[in-house]
Symmetry: none
Subunit: 454 residues, 2 copies
C-alpha cells in the first residue's frame, strides 16, 4: 500500500509495506525527506495526533517514529516548540573520483607486474575453500595469532623448504596481506636508512618512505647488487631474479651480502617475488636458507595466483619476530583466516604445485616466443619470471608509438633512484600479463613498434 | 590396490587408490620417501621406462610424476645424469614458542569482544564464494582499487544506508581488513592528539599510539561522551552503544558533537562496532547520517560473522578520501578480493540480513537470561550488543574467584585511561562469546561467583 501524504505544505511518499512495518516506513519517508531537503531545517512537523489521524496510524506509531529520528539527529524536539527538522548541513557530497572502468584498460597489455589473471585456478580454490572451511574449528572465525593461522604457517614452512630451500620454522612465519604489507611492517620496525636496489621498483621505495624510513641506493650490475653500505638498517634485494634487470645475484655476491649483514648487524630482506618461475634450470635456492638469522625471506601468491588474493609471508630471523608481530597486531591484527585456510589446503593437497607447474610451462613458451620476436635485441637477465628488460635508446618514443597502437609497455628509467639525462633507457615487457589468446596479437604489435622505433 | 615396489635397493609403498589416480599415488609415495629420508639426497631413480614396466603403469604416468617432483624440488633432472633425489637441506628447526592450544581456553568464557563463532554461516558463505568467484571477472584476481572492490562498496553503501542511516557514496567507502586497520590508517593520516572515550577499549588506544598519535581522554557519563576538547584532530566515539558502559549518546550530545566538529574542523570517528544488535527498539541511526562531511563511519563484520574474516569499512568525508587511499595503497595495497566479493554476494542476496536477524534473536535471549540472573545488580546501559557492564566493588577478587571455577570475565578498570585507587570497578560480561550449549553453564557459574563475592 502506497500513499502520498500532504500536510503543512509537505509532500511525503509513504510506502507502507506491511512486511517492513508502518513505523519503519514512516521513519524511512521522513528520513528521506530531511536528507533530500524536501523537509528543510527548522520546519515544524505536524503534531503526532494530527499526523496519526491523517495516515490512519496509531498515535504511538507516529510518536515512536519521531522519537527515533530525534535520537538519530534528524529531528529535534523542544518542550513547547514541537518537533522540528534539525539544522543539518549535509548536501550530497560530490563524487571524488570516477571508478576506473574496463574502458581504461589498454587493448594490448605488456606491462610488467601481473601474471595472467585468467589462469586463476577457480575450481581448485573453491574445492580448497570448501574443504578448509568445512574442517575449520570455530576459532578460525575469531581473533587469532597475529602471525596467521598455524595451518598455513606449517604448510608454508614445508613448501618453502622444499621448493626454495627456505629454513622456515612456522613460529617465525608471519602471514601478511602481501609483500607491500610485509615491507611496510619491516620498514617501520627497522627504521631507516634502508638500502634498495638501483634500479628497482619505484613503488616499493614509496612504500618504505610511507613507513617513515629513508631510502638509499644499492647499485646493481650484471652480477646483481653490490657496494653494500655501512650505515643502513637493511638491504632489500631480489637475488633470484633482479627486478627489473633480470640478473641473478652472483654466488660471490651472495656470500658477500651475508657476510656484510653479519658484520654490520643489518638485515637482508630477500624479495622472492617470482622465485617459482625459472625456465632453464632449477631455481636458485633462497639466500635465506644459508643465513636464516640475518635474512628475512618475503614471498606471496601475487605471481602464482594473482595479487587480488592478498596473501604473502615473511620468514623472520628470531630477533625480529616480537617487534614485527607486535606491529602487525596493532595495525592489522592478522590476515583473513578464510584465505589462509584455503591456501593451506591448496598447498598440502599439491594443487598449488600443479598449478604452478602448468603456469611455468605457459610462461616459458611465452618467453621463448618473445625472445624469438625480439631477435637481435636479446633481453638482459636469466630465463625466469614474467618480464624482460630490453635496452632502447628512446623509451618514451617507443612507449608513445606503442600506445598509439593500443599497446602498453613498462619503461626502464622510472626504476632508477635519480633518473637523469644519461640514465640507461629501455622497455620492461611483462609477458605474463595478457590472457593466452591475447598474447600473440600483443607480441605482433610489439615487434612492429620496435622495428619502427629503433 | 596396494603394492610394495623394490628396485635399486629402494622400498616404496604404493597405495594405488584408483580414485586418487595412479600418478598422484606414485607422486605421493616418492615424496614421502624423500621426506622421510628413505630416498637419500643424490639417489638416482630408475629410468621411467623401467619403473613403468615394474609397476604396470604407462611410461607417461611415471614421467609426469617425475616432472612434478622435479618442479617441487624433491628431485633434480640433469641431462645425461638421469633423475636424482635433490640435495635438500632443511632440518626441522627448533620451535621458538609453543603454539597456543585449546588447552589455554577457559572452561567458561564470558569475556567480551567476540560473537559466538559457532554461528558462522559456513553454508551461506560457501554458496556466496562459489557464486561470486564464478561470476568474477579475471581482474578481480589482480591489483585493483585501494578502496576495495566496487561490488562490495556498492553493496555496503546500500546496506549501511538502509540499516544504519549512513550516507555512503561507494566512492567514499574504503574496505579494510577490519576496524583496527581503519583506525590505524586514520590515526596516521590525521595525526594526534586524538580524543578517545574514557572509559574505552584500551587496545584501541594502543592502536592509535602505534600509529604515532597521542591519545587524550574524552569523558563519558550516562549520556555518553562529552566535554569535547578544542585541540585535537579527531574524537573516536561509540554513539550507538558506548563501549564498555553500554550507554547511548544522548540526542543533545549528538548535536553538540557534530557542532563541535564543524566548529573546530576535527573529525568524528564513529565506531559502530555492534550497531546491528539492539533488542528493545530500532537501533539509533548512525551519527554519520546527520553529518557525513564531519563524521567517519567505521564498521566491520567482526560481530556479525566473526573477526577472523578481517573485513571492515570506513565511510569517509570527501576531504579525507585521497589521503586515506594513498596510505592504504602504500601500506596494504587493498583488502583481499575473494572475501570482499563473497561478502558483497552475502549482502545482496540478503543472506547477511537473515543471519543477523537470527543472531539478534539468540543474543537477545542470552541477554534476558543474563539480566535475570544478575537480579538486583542490573547492568548499566541499553539493551544492545554482546556485553554488559555491572559494577562490582572488587573486580580482581571477582575475576580471581571466577577463574578458580574456570570462568573468564572481563574487568572494567583496564578501560580507564589512568586507572587509580578510586577508579570505578566492575565486570564486563560478554554473553556473545560462548557457544549456545555452553552459555547456561557459564551463567550458572557466574551467578554463583557473584553471590560469593559481593
Amino acid at each position: 500500500m502506497s500513499q502520498t501524504w500532504a500536510t503543512s505544505g509537505l509532500d511525503l511518499h509513504l510506502d507502507l509495506d506491511p512486511a517492513a512495518g508502518r513505523r519503519a516506513a514512516l521513519e524511512h519517508a521522513l528520513r528521506d525527506a530531511v536528507r533530500t531537503g524536501r523537509l528543510a531545517p527548522g520546519t515544524r512537523l505536524p503534531a503526532t495526533r494530527r499526523l496519526a489521524a491523517e495516515l490512519g496510524l496509531a498515535r504511538n506509531t507516529v510518536s515512536a517514529a519521531y522519537d527515533q529520528l530525534v535520537a538519530e539527529g534528524y529531528l529535534t524536539a523542544r518542550r513547547g516548540a514541537g518537533t522540528l527538522v534539525a539544522p543539518l548541513a549535509h548536501p550530497a557530497p560530490a563524487r571524488t573520483a570516477p571508478e576506473p572502468g574496463p574502458a581504461d584498460a589498454p587493448r594490448h597489455d605488456l606491462r610488467p607486474g601481473s601474471p595472467d589473471l585468467t589462469l586463476f585456478p577457480t575450481a581448485d580454490w573453491l574445492r580448497s575453500t570448501r574443504r578448509a572451511l568445512g574442517a575449520a574449528p570455530a576459532d578460525a572465525h575469531g581473533y587469532g595469532d597475529p602471525r596467521g593461522r598455524v595451518e598455513l604457517r606449517r604448510a608454508l614452512a614445508g613448501y618453502l623448504g622444499r621448493t626454495r630451500g627456505v629454513q622456515a620454522d612456522p613460529e617465525r612465519v608471519v602471514v601478511t596481506t602481501g609483500y607491500v604489507r610485509g615491507l611496510s611492517l619491516l620498514a617501520r620496525v627497522l627504521g631507516g636508512p634502508i638500502a634498495m636496489e638501483d634500479p628497482g621498483l619505484a613503488f616499493h621505495r614509496e612504500v618504505v618512505r610511507h613507513a617513515g624510513a629513508r631510502v638509499v641506493p644499492l647499485p646493481v650490475d650484471e652480477d646483481g647488487a653490490h657496494a653494500f653500505p655501512d650505515d643502513v638498517t637493511a638491504a632489500v634485494v631480489t637475488p633470484a631474479h633482479q627486478y627489473p634487470t633480470g640478473v641473478t645475484l652472483h654466488p660471490a655476491r651472495r656470500r658477500a651480502l651475508v657476510d656484510w649483514a653479519r658484520d654490520t648487524g643489518a638485515v637482508v630482506v630477500e624479495d622472492d617475488y617470482d622465485g617459482e618461475f625459472r625456465y632453464d634450470r632449477q631455481p636458485v635456492g633462497a639466500l635465506q636458507g644459508t643465513a636464516p638469522d640475518h635474512v628475512v625471506y618475503a614471498g606471496s601468491v601475487s605471481k602464482t595466483l594473482g595479487p587480488g588474493s592478498r596473501l604473502g609471508w615473511l620468514v623472520l630471523p628470531p630477533r625480529l619476530v616480537d617487534d614485527v608481530v607486535d606491529l602487525q597486531r596493532h595495525t592489522d591484527r592478522q590476515a583473513g583466516a578464510h584465505g589462509q585456510l584455503t591456501l593451506a589446503d591448496l598447498i598440502t593437497s599439491h594443487a598449488y604445485d600443479r598449478h604452478i607447474r602448468s603456469c611455468r610451462l605457459r610462461y616459458r613458451r611465452r618467453r621463448d616466443l618473445l625472445v624469438e620476436a625480439l631477435r637481435e635485441h636479446a633481453p638482459l637477465g636469466v630465463s625466469a619470471g614474467l618480464h624482460v628488460l630490453v635496452r632502447h635508446p628512446d623509451e618514451d618514443a617507443a612507449r608513445t608509438a606503442a600506445a598509439a597502437r593500443g599497446l602498453a609497455l613498462g619503461g626502464f628509467r622510472e626504476h632508477w633512484h635519480r633518473p637523469g639525462p644519461t640514465t640507461p633507457q629501455g622497455l620492461v615487457i611483462g609477458y605474463g600479463t595478457p590472457a593466452e589468446h591475447a598474447y600473440r596479437p600483443a607480441l605482433r604489435v610489439l615487434t612492429e613498434v620496435l622495428a619502427g622505433t629503433r
